[in-house]
Every structure is written in structure tokens, then in C-alpha cells.
């Protein structure tokens, strides 16, 4: 599985464009779910070490809600939606109208978990279907899985496959901001498996 081509700035720009398209659709879905305006920052595409990747998400020990979906099909990889516990609380309360939900608790209700997983499903679904329309590649997300834990513990799970061969990874990171909150409320992390770049770049005519 050697990569027999060089990833240039042009390729990174293409990935940035892909991240923009996907995240714009996901932000629209989130905005409809919440009936609030969602702002999305221009994606950050970087070639980073694993430790640097944790820093992108706020530091390896930061506690977040992480929803992971594996991606299969012509494009394979991992996709994370990471958000602060307070944001997850607000999001689920708004969606299911249940005020007792608290992701700070050590036991989180099944309802909260499935509501949050459904959010992940909707967001990843719109992100990836936009990507699929644009590239004409078949991309299927698996059922989402949720964990409330440290950033490093969560993201490293998505690095296992590529870490067999690499010590760095390309991450397409899009930050989103919900109206009325002052800080970044979440990150989409798209981590394509290295072999996926070939099909991706080929489909876009840049390889």
C-alpha cells in the first residue's frame, strides 16, 4: 500500500474544497435540526502527527463527546464529530425535550446516547452524500458509535489502521459555531485512509 505519488498543495486545496462542500451540507442539516444559524469556518487541511491532531481538537486530555462513523465504499476512512459536553447537552435537550440529560454524568441515559448518535448520523450523512455527489464515489457511513472521553483516547481509535504504515495523517478539520455561543462548538474530523486518496484524487481529475 505504498503511495506512489506526492501530495502537493494542490491536493490539499482539493481536500479543503471537499471539506467545505461536505461541512456546508452538514451545517445546513444541523441548522434545520436546531432552528438556529450555524457558522462554519473554512476547513483546515493538514498533514499532522498524531499528537498534533489531538491539539487540533483542543488537546489530548480535553473531555468531549465523540461520535465515530467508519466510512466504507470507494472512499474509506473514519469520521468524527467532536463536541463539548455542554453543547451536546443543549443539542439533545433541544431535540428530545428531556431536561435531565447531562453528558457530565458518569451514566448517560440511553435516550441521550441515541439522540446524539442520530445527530451524528444526520450530519455525517449530509457531509458524505455531498461528497459522494461531488466525486461520484460510493461512500457509505456505518452505524455511529458514541464515547464521552478524552480527545486522545477517542481519536486514536480512528488512527489504528493508518498507524500501521504512517506516523502522520491528513485530517480535514471543519469547526462549527452555533449562533449565540462565543466559542467553537464542534469539529468534524474526516480522516481518509491513505489508499482512499488515490480514488479520491482520480475521481477529481487531479491524479
Amino acid at each position: 500500500m505504498n503511495i506512489d505519488y506526492k501530495i502537493t498543495d494542490m491536493h490539499l486545496d482539493v481536500l479543503k474544497e471537499i471539506g467545505s462542500i461536505g461541512a456546508a451540507h452538514a451545517a445546513t442539516s444541523l441548522s434545520q435540526l436546531l432552528d438556529k444559524k450555524i457558522e462554519m469556518l473554512v476547513p483546515n487541511v493538514s498533514f499532522v502527527s498524531f499528537d498534533e491532531m489531538f491539539d487540533l481538537a483542543g488537546g489530548s486530555e480535553r473531555i468531549v463527546v465523540g461520535i465515530l462513523q467508519k466510512i466504507e465504499g470507494d472512499l474509506s476512512g473514519n469520521m468524527f464529530y467532536l463536541l463539548p459536553l455542554d453543547s451536546a447537552n443543549q443539542l439533545t435537550k433541544r431535540l428530545v425535550g428531556e431536561t435531565s440529560i447531562d453528558f457530565h454524568n458518569s451514566t448517560i441515559s440511553e435516550l441521550a446516547i441515541s439522540a446524539m448518535q442520530e445527530v451524528g448520523n444526520i450530519l455525517a450523512g449530509s457531509y458524505l452524500s455531498a461528497l459522494s455527489d461531488f466525486t461520484q464515489l460510493k461512500i457509505q457511513p456505518t452505524v455511529p458509535s458514541l464515547s464521552v472521553d478524552m480527545v486522545g483516547a477517542i481519536i486514536s481509535f480512528g488512527l489504528i489502521e493508518l498507524s500501521h504504515y504512517y506516523d502522520e495523517a491528513i485530517v480535514i478539520d471543519t469547526q462549527i459555531i452555533v449562533e449565540g455561543s462565543s466559542s467553537v462548538d464542534g469539529h468534524f474530523f474526516l480522516l481518509p485512509n491513505p489508499e482512499a486518496y488515490i480514488s479520491l484524487f482520480r475521481s477529481l481529475g487531479v491524479l
Binding site: 498524531f50 489530548s60 458518569s106 464515547s147 472521553d149 486522545g152 486514536s156 481509535f157
Partner: protein
């Protein structure tokens, strides 16, 4: 200030050694395993943050040895020997190897338990006794070892800190 200066941090797929009064720490172990090797006489300790069980899974000629259980632990022992530690006096404490998510591909399924098994296999081959462990489960762990008290403190989300 002293506390900051005296704690050496080890990143993912990384290894380092310290001498008392320095402590050594690695954060947010998920399916990864933190292996501490220590010598009570010299008060020197090493920590490797292992990500994968077996280096034969990585098919590159040059690779980061600290990433794999087999090569990582052997390299750490070599480092400690260079500091004058007698390998026969080494003891181990280990933590990590959680299953963070409930699904996986053939590479990721049971990756936490497989990392633990691999670490134990290598320590067994080297005849290094495991004095204490906190492994498995589904929680991430941040660990810190003090070569003076020879305690490994383990912090998990919602469950506070405990020492082994």
C-alpha cells in the same frame, strides 16, 4: 513550577525515561497501552505508549519502534540498560487497552485487548514481572509514574484518580 518541570511527558507512539525526582506521564490512553518499566535501586523509570500489538503488521523497513508492543518494549529496555539499569531488576506496571468504541474492522476489533496480550507476551519473554495493572474496560486513562513511591496514578473521566 517545579511540578511542571519535573514531569516528563510521553506522546502517543513515543517513549522516554526519567530519573527520580522526575516523574513520567502519558495522557489519554484509549486502546493504547502505557508500559512503565522501573528499577527501584537506581530509581530510573521508562514509559512507552504502545499503539499496536505487533511490528510485523507494519510493512515498512524503517518505522517508529515505540509504536508497537514488541519493538517498543525491547527498545525501552535497551534505553534503560544504557543508563546503567540491570535488566534483571526491572519491574512493570501497565495501564490502558480499553475498547473505546463498540465496532471495528479486522484491524481495530479488540485492538485494546490485543495490545494488552501483546504487552504481556513480550514482558513474559523478557521475564519482567507485572507488579500492577489497570487494563481493559471502555474508559480512556491518563497515567503518571513516580519512581520514588513507585506508584502509578491513573485518572479516568468521571472516576477520579486511583493509584496502583
Amino acid at each position: 513550577m517545579d511540578t511542571v518541570k519535573n514531569v516528563v511527558r510521553v506522546g502517543i507512539a513515543d517513549m522516554k525515561i526519567v530519573k527520580a525526582p522526575q516523574k513520567i506521564r502519558t495522557s489519554s490512553l484509549g486502546s493504547c497501552v502505557g508500559v512503565v518499566l522501573y528499577d527501584e535501586t537506581t530509581k530510573i523509570a521508562g514509559l512507552v505508549h504502545v499503539m499496536l500489538p505487533d511490528s510485523s503488521l507494519g510493512r515498512l523497513e524503517s518505522f517508529n519502534r515505540a509504536k508497537f508492543a514488541d519493538t517498543g518494549i525491547y527498545s525501552l529496555v535497551e534505553l534503560l540498560k544504557k543508563e546503567g539499569v540491570n535488566p534483571n531488576s526491572l519491574k512493570a506496571k501497565i495501564a490502558g487497552g480499553a475498547q473505546m468504541f463498540q465496532f471495528g474492522s479486522k484491524d481495530t476489533i479488540r485492538i485494546g485487548p490485543r495490545n494488552i496480550e501483546a504487552v504481556k507476551l513480550v514482558l513474559g519473554r523478557l521475564s519482567i514481572p507485572i507488579i500492577a495493572e489497570d487494563t481493559g474496560g471502555s474508559r480512556g486513562r491518563t497515567i503518571e509514574f513516580d519512581p520514588i513511591s513507585i506508584k502509578l496514578s491513573i485518572r479516568t473521566v468521571n472516576e477520579g484518580t486511583n493509584e496502583i
